[in-house]
């Protein structure tokens, strides 16, 4: 029953989405000066509606401001959002590892976590190394 209702839900969502897509695209033609204040108001109400807390409204505004400044100065907002979303899970898993393994060593002696650690290290170092190599070749 649950599966059928989920299937039905997706079909209805697809029909509504497809039939309204061209009309919704017209929103992009609305002038930003008209759209921005309305969007701000809807965002603030949305954040309030989540927990009925006015503090959330203030936090939403402050994070909006932070996001704007980050964009202006070339900082990655995606990294911040990923950190906020995954931080809780990371902290819980980190504590679990500390409790079940031999302290921090657990991250480096278990094969899967070791491979993931090396892959992370490589993904950070490789672009830097490639860029350095390319520059060296260009200089020659």
């Amino acid at each position: 029953m649950l599966l059928i209702s989920m299937l039905g839900c997706h079909i209805v969502a697809a029909i509504i989405g497809l039939s309204l897509a061209d009309k919704m695209a017209l929103l992009t033609k609305v002038r930003p000066v008209l759209f921005a204040p309305i969007l701000l108001v809807v965002c603030l109400i949305g954040s309030f509606a989540l927990r009925n807390s006015i503090g959330d409204v203030i936090v939403t505004f402050l994070f909006g401001l932070l996001g704007y400044e980050m964009r202006k100065f070339g900082f990655s907002r995606i990294a911040l959002i990923l950190g906020l979303l995954l931080g809780n899970m990371a902290e819980i898993s980190f504590r679990q590892t500390l409790m079940t393994q031999a302290k921090l060593l657990g991250f480096f002696i278990r094969p899967i976590s070791l491979i993931l650690f090396l892959a992370t290290l490589a993904s950070v170092m490789l672009p830097l190394y490639q860029s350095y190599r390319r520059r060296k070749i260009n200089e020659k």
Partner: protein, 153 residues
């Protein structure tokens, strides 16, 4: 934009330091992650800050990174004023919501913003200022049964 950027970096650095400082209050196991991430991010931001002052370190780092470390585009005075005024208007909206509640602050903010900042016509400003709260009330209070903040008064 260099000074503005430096101020922003100092602000980020203060957040990282606060995170490390608050980490001291946690238990032995609990403080490792916030302190490690705080120290690591703090070192990166501090490095960026040092680079914004030292052209030699910046030149060294640019060997590895193609993109410029500091933002090169500079906003004109007019653009800066416009940016600050929008931030002030939006902050005003948030404060108004806190004191007056959503249903009083929204029409007030929309009308004043559209009429005096965006210089829109009286008709458009009034229509939008009247329509948006009605839609908000109908959607949130009537359909979704979400009680909106009514302000402090």
């Amino acid at each position: 934009m260099k000074n503005e950027e430096r101020i922003f970096m100092v602000f980020l650095l203060l957040i990282m330091l606060l995170m490390v400082f608050m980490g001291f209050r946690y238990g032995a196991g609990s403080k490792i992650l916030p302190m490690a991430s705080g120290i690591f991010s703090g070192v990166i931001v501090a490095f960026l800050l040092i680079m914004s002052f030292s052209s030699r370190i910046r030149a060294w780092y640019q060997k590895f990174e193609k993109r410029s470390v500091l933002t090169e585009s500079e906003l004109s005075v007019k653009e800066k004023k416009r940016e600050l005024s929008v931030i002030a208007w939006f902050s005003g909206c948030t404060v108004a919501i806190y004191f007056l509640g959503f249903l009083a602050a929204i029409p007030l903010f929309l009308f004043l913003f559209l009429k005096f900042w965006a210089k829109e016509s009286w008709l458009l400003s009034l229509v939008l200022a009247a329509a948006v709260p009605v839609i908000v009330y109908f959607t949130f209070v009537y359909i979704l049964s979400v009680p909106l903040h009514t302000g402090l008064f």
